[in-house]
Amino acid sequence: MDVLINLGYLVAAVLFILGVKGLTSPKTAVNGNRMSASAMLIAIIAALLDSNVITYEYILLGVLIGGAIGAFIAKKVAMTDMPEMVATLNGIGGGASLLVAAANYLESQKLAEVGQFAVTYDWSVAVILSILIGAVTLTGSFVAVGKLKGKIGDSNKVSLYKWIVKLCFLTLIAGAVYFTQFSQLNSDLLIIGLIFVCLILGVCLVMPIGGADMPVVVSLLNSYSGLAGAAAGFVLGNNGLIIVGSLVGASGIILTSIMCKAMNRSLTNVLFGGSMSAQSGVTKSENDAFYEGKVKFSNPDELAMLLESAQKVVLVPGYGLAVAQAQHATRELANMLEKNGTEVKYAIHPVAGRMPGHMNVLLAEAEVPYDQLVDMDTINPEFSQTDVAIVLGANDVVNPGAAEDPNSPIFGMPILNVHNAKTVVVVKRGLSPGFAGIPNELFIRDNALMVTGDAKKVLQDTIGALKDL
């Protein structure tokens, strides 16, 4: 039976890998995802055949509760809220791994009493690691959700959190040494204490990170949630868990490094550098003084006239588009322009929005063909032949200071060169700074026009004005 079960895990692992491989193209992605789901089913059946599984009612209970909650969330969540959704699921995954490690610890005590389990050094290390990664992922993710929702602001107590983090690590190391060397099986209180320390650690690791850096944090926690599963695999000696957990771990690591590159920052700087806006951000009066009298304001009617005569228009979506739920209005405007013979493209910055690929999903929801979405390196040379670039709720990713001003805190971050377009129209609710907390020189350039207002409303008004022309 054990051979059969392990073969089941192997088949599942292969299907998971093929499933992820399906995600390399939008055409094969749906089937890839279903392949991955069937792999999950095979893995679950293999687990149910395990000789340790005798009764099924508790399992069924857990599956029913989890399944109902999961289906409800999946149906209800808006595409604009995907970052929060992914962050929540990261946390839940970490929590599940933590509980599996704790349950296994309790069972091992029982098994050792009857002489069926001998404590090994690597088992005890795996228990500690599993608790650490699981607990940090759990609480860290929920702090990240709070930051994504804007309920937890940027903190200026970075040094306090760093101090607590160090203290937690010291306690953890001391506890881990005691646990692995002296008392592996009679340490209920120690384990509870360590879980508690790791939960605090998760909070204090994410608290000092700025809201602007959440795409990195969410990707990193995504990786942790996989590694937590792999660590649980080490505890249970289950290779299926190890393979699949490390697959998720690898995915998160890759996305994290892509996000860091797109912001020209190292991971250490993101994690321990503190919030950018808390350090180099300007005050409200400094911000107002920067723009004072230099911004040219426009309105949807003028925008419509500009667009009417444009040959080539590039739309630059940002987080503001998600907040305003303006993806459908954007698509409608693009359709009108295309009917008019104008070439329309969408420029996607890698960190636009709040998670990797956020803008692509929103525009896909509005049925924008994915081949019209152009990445940064491809679109940048095209801006000089662009008549109108419309920036929809993006800020830092179009700040020319990042390319030209060595004193800018975001200097070196790759940007979309919208300032090279003949005219740049910035649709934004106001002149408040973006995530980096600094003013944007683009807005006072000669070729820039500002249309203030909610992106959806402005776009709808522009569509109306275009119809009247």
């Binding site: 690898a250 890759i254 990797p356």
Partner: protein
């Protein structure tokens, strides 16, 4: 220890496979990739099932923890796959 080295070998090789495969996922699908891997990380349900299967070495507490772990992992599996499917169908339409 041999068992551990075996597992470690598998772990390291699996990371490499993961990096190779996932590097080829285009940026346009990065959000579905993340929600899809959310679902995959629900694989820990395997461990949770074994913990709450009620054989004689389980205790009341370990069963309770196991059942909660199953519920949490199932949330990830169901929500992850369903929402990924929802998103991917949006990409497929064209």
């Amino acid at each position: 220890m041999e068992m551990f080295i075996m597992s470690l070998t598998i772990f390291v090789l699996a990371i490499f496979v993961g990096v190779e495969v996932i590097n080829k996922v285009p940026p346009t699908l990065h959000t579905p990739l993340m929600s899809g891997t959310n679902a995959i990380s629900g694989i820990v349900v395997v461990g949770a099932i074994i913990s709450s299967g009620g054989s004689d070495h389980t205790t009341v507490l370990s069963t309770v923890l196991g059942v909660i772990a199953i519920a949490l992992a199932t949330i990830n599996i169901v929500a992850g796959y369903m929402v990924t499917d929802r998103m991917l169908n949006m990409f497929k339409r064209k």
